[in-house]
Amino acid sequence: MRTTRWQRWSGLLFIAPWLITFLWFTLGPFIASIFLSFTNYRFIGLPEWVGADNYVRLFTDDAKFIRSIINTLYYTAVHVPGIMVMAFFVAILLNQKVKGQPIYRTAFYLPSVTAGVATAYLWILLLQPNGLVNQFLGLVGIDGPNWLTSSTWAMPALILMSFWGLGTTMIIYLAALQGIPQHLYEAASVDGAGVIRKMWHVTVPMMTPAIFLTAVLQIIGSWQVFTQALIVTNGGPRDSTLFILLHLYRTGFEYFQMGYASAIAWVLFVIILVFTVLQFGIARRWVYYEGASER
């Protein structure tokens, strides 16, 4: 097929809408934020070059920043495995031939779609000392804490709330489960494998791409927790739910220290990058891609 020079280059016109907005609102700001992170800029006047001062201050003289990193690690360590295990469990159950499957699926999936400011306010009410959560705990004989005013329990409260949003992860698992070829189970049965062994030697290996995907998404998501932390606890009590993004927001848009906030943004970016690269590195050891050897 013959294509003229013009025809080749004019293909760029098709991707121009994305390319323009990418250059304007992504690449440009991305480069600008590197520069800003080495300056002192207060939204008025000109940025003043301060070298690496912002980064030095972050790691040596900003207890709140260190606290926000620790808080996020705490959240990640409980939220990510927790939500993955629960979503996996629900997906396995939903994948049975159960009557009314669409109804259950909707019930589990809907909260993850509506997640936002409205449901954050709802959870403030549910987490009150005499609220629904504690009433429920009372049924099994547990005297629930005052979640939102306790620096010990505020983070568990946010994590509990995050489990309500397991729907996205669950749907990914459900799709992956339905993609497992039936003949693998048949072959395993012929070999005399029981429930547990089929689970461990067929289901889990075939699910590793989905498990990997959700792990990446959930870990990246944990570093971007913002709405819940701002609305439900506003970072408190005593900074116990101060997430890195909330710290960035306050620094940049409440104290208008925009150079310093850019430094926070860059540390956040590097953290996300490192976690993602690390995961892709580890993935080679345990993720099974069907037909990968043929490629």
Binding site: T3, R8, A107, G116, A118, L122
Partner: protein
């Protein structure tokens, strides 16, 4: 002969009891039965009991879990229809008569109509223009051989890993220079060129459409734009619907950016507006009003979700998570 029968019975037993991973029983037995030519009737009582038990437990957990996941919504509705005095009445589950005046009050006395309008404008343009652009761009990446196609596609993929938060400060400075602060432009313009995720999903889908169809259309004299509109898009309706549905949710729920760029009470969107009712978190009156506004914010999502449920679920498979 005897040996094989024992083997089969065992197989049937495990598959019946499985319940994990595989759909319960059924399909595993039929091929075996077909091979032996005789239906298998050997099944011990313990297996049947175990099977019944697994099924009962499955239903119990699913039912209990569904109720737990749905109850917060019930509480939201319930509170939105309560009067001041009813909120902390432990004996009252559902208010009669329902206090519709919560809705009429917030509608009349707060800029709720403005918030709804602003959210609707941003979401409508975001979904329609964003999805349209995503289609055009995805077609470019999927079908056209321009210089830098592969490199730019990798760039597009890597932007999915770059959250808006990292670049938010220069972005806000850009909006200030454009005099766009406290207007809806910052929420509209960046999305006009299509979203990285939408483009990615659509591009993957377009790649599955046989190229022969393009070539046939070209022989008939169709231009590249003609191929896009008459061949690719009509075949991609499910993928487009999925992208549009996900884009609706993302636009409607967007909070971080409007929180930063919008200020005036009548210029904010619904999620930001909800914060207006947070001032006195611990007075009942505000609770009921707040839940009424929360309902107004959540209802459109629920409606869209019920109409487009298949699209949401299909979206997951479309992204090609199998690698």
């Amino acid at each position: 002969m005897r040996h094989t029968v024992v083997g089969r019975a065992h197989t049937a037993g495990t598959s019946a009891a499985s319940g994990l991973g595989a759909p319960l029983g059924g399909s595993l037995e039929s091929p075996q039965t077909a091979l032996s030519g005789k239906p298998i009737t050997v099944r011990s009582t313990s297996v049947r009991v175990l099977r019944a038990l697994t099924r009962t437990l499955t239903y119990l957990v699913l039912l209990g879990g569904s109720v737990m996941f749905a109850i917060p919504f019930v509480y939201m509705v319930r509170w939105s229809f309560m009067t001041t005095g009813q909120v902390y009445d432990p004996d009252l589950f559902w208010p009669f008569p329902m206090a519709w005046e919560n809705y009429t009050y917030v509608w009349a006395n707060h800029p709720v109509p403005w918030w709804l309008l602003n959210s609707s404008v941003v979401t409508f343009i975001g979904v329609v223009a964003g999805t349209f652009s995503s289609c055009v761009v995805a077609y470019g990446f999927a079908r056209l051989d321009f210089p830098g196609n592969r490199v730019l596609f990798i760039v597009l993929l890597s932007t999915m890993m770059l959250p808006l938060h990292v670049t938010i400060i220069p972005i806000v400075i850009i909006f200030r220079e454009l005099n766009w602060l406290d207007t809806l432009w910052p929420l509209i313009v960046p999305g006009l060129g299509g979203g990285a995720f939408s483009i990615f999903v659509l591009r993957q889908f377009f790649m599955t459409i046989p190229i022969e169809l393009d070539e046939a259309a070209r022989t008939d004299g169709a231009s590249r734009i003609g191929i896009l509109f008459r061949v690719i898009l009509p075949l991609s309706k499910p993928a487009i619907a999925t992208v549009a549905a996900l884009s609706f949710i993302a636009n409607w729920n967007e909070f971080f950016l409007p929180l930063i760029v919008l200020n005036s009470p009548e210029r904010i969107t619904l999620p930001v507006g909800l914060r207006y009712f947070a001032a006195g978190q611990y007075t009942e009156q505000l609770h009921t009003f707040q839940m009424a506004v929360a309902m107004i914010a959540v209802m459109p999502i629920i409606v869209v979700f019920f109409f487009a449920q298949r699209q949401f679920v299909r979206g997951i498979t479309l992204t090609g998570i199998k690698g």
